[in-house]
Amino acid sequence: MTATKTREGIETVLRILPHRVCEEILALVRTRRGGVSAIREIRIRADARSTLLVGRDRIPLCCVLRRDELETTLHRLSEGSVYAYCDSIRAGYVTVVGGVRVGVCAEARYDGTRASVSGVSSLVFRIPTGECEFAERLYRIWDEVKKLDTGMLVYSPPGVGKTTALRSLAAYIGGGRDPRRVVIVDERCEFISSDYERCEVDILRGYHRDEGVAIAIRTMSPEVLIIDELGEEDAPRLFGTVRCGIPVLASAHAASLSELMARRGLSDMIGGGVFGVFVGIARSGDGYSLTVDGI
């Protein structure tokens, strides 16, 4: 993802946000290094203080939004078509153009197992960072993993850059001199087709992970399968389908390898040989550090 695309993503978000927040944000970042491109997160709240994350600085905003302004923002986010985003809103997020994921914090009411969500209280716009700083290092690790005939699991706490890493890695694997056929199962619609115009990358957008993986294997003949944010609930459903000789590159939330192993669903997949190499991403100073296990 290029800086231009990051900027486009932010500009889309600014068009969606209530006008007064947008104006305040623009006034705040005007004097900062990087301008709007340095925005990493916008967190708006109903009847409470909203905040802006620029680089690593969290800046509180002065204007306090009303609940109806948040409802209107959510309506705009769903392109005026709530019916098309119901499941996604129920799952707690909406993804807008440019792969910007918006977390939706609201009130849920259950009718059996089905939740109805209303009364939005906060929206969190997470702007994907531009190019992944450590993509080349990650690609070199993947090169080693290929020889071991296994899969690779990238883990980190939320917000460190797993999705951005997978995005860049997909371009590396599907591009270059020896491109591989990569299929990405992108349940949250965070990968952008235009990032892979010259690559052997196909994206199954919006599919549930287990269905997407089954379709990818059946119809797309992938050489590498990429799955973003494996959850414990996905693991049992995926376990049967992913063990089919296609290397899997996936990401999951965890701060350490022991935390990762403690998650039963994932540990079953690991024990079953789906993943042989684990790469932990952590922030270190102004950059990132990678911890590799399994090679």
Partner: protein, 164 residues
């Protein structure tokens, strides 16, 4: 001379009546075409939602209709304007009847606020209301065509009588 002026005056009145009738006929035709266009748009959107659960901007993208095209409504939608805003922007140019206008304004601003089933049944209800209004307009158009024809014949006959 005064006789000639009288004839000329009568002739002009006949021509003016004829032109007015034709103008009204064209307006009624446009009105029917626009109502039909919006009805077809609702049917198209309903289909895209029911079958593919497409968001509105994408659902309207593949739609085409001559009357709505000449209003500039579809161009606005293609440029990314939302349905209610695009409708409000072209409303001044529309020949739609009062009831149809109100119905469309309500429908387009409320569209997409519910789940798929709610939205589809809402659109279904509005489609049947709009169909009824369209049927009434078509009857009116037929009547106005007949009236125009009668008036043209009467005017022609009047002119012939005047000159005999």
């Amino acid at each position: 001379m005064s006789e000639l002026l009288k004839y000329a005056g009568l002739f002009l009145i006949a021509i003016a009546a004829l032109l007015l009738c034709r103008r009204y006929g064209a307006y009624a035709e446009r009105r029917v075409a626009e109502t039909r266009g919006f009805l077809n748009l609702l049917r198209h959107v309903r289909g895209r939602i029911a079958s593919f659960l497409e968001p509105l901007p994408r659902a309207v993208r593949g739609f085409s209709d001559g009357a709505l095209e000449s209003l500039g409504f579809l161009t606005r939608l293609r440029e990314g304007e939302a349905l209610p805003e695009a409708y409000l922007a072209v409303m001044g140019k529309c020949s739609l009847g009062k009831e149809v206008r109100r119905l469309l304004e309500d429908t387009l601003s409320a569209l997409g606020r519910g789940t798929r089933d709610e939205t589809v049944s809402y659109v279904d209800g509005r489609i049947s209301e709009l169909s009824e209004l369209l049927a009434a307009e078509e009857v009116e158009l037929e009547r106005s065509v007949k009236l125009t024809r009668t008036l043209i014949c009467a005017a022609a006959l009047g002119i012939v009588i005047l000159f005999i």
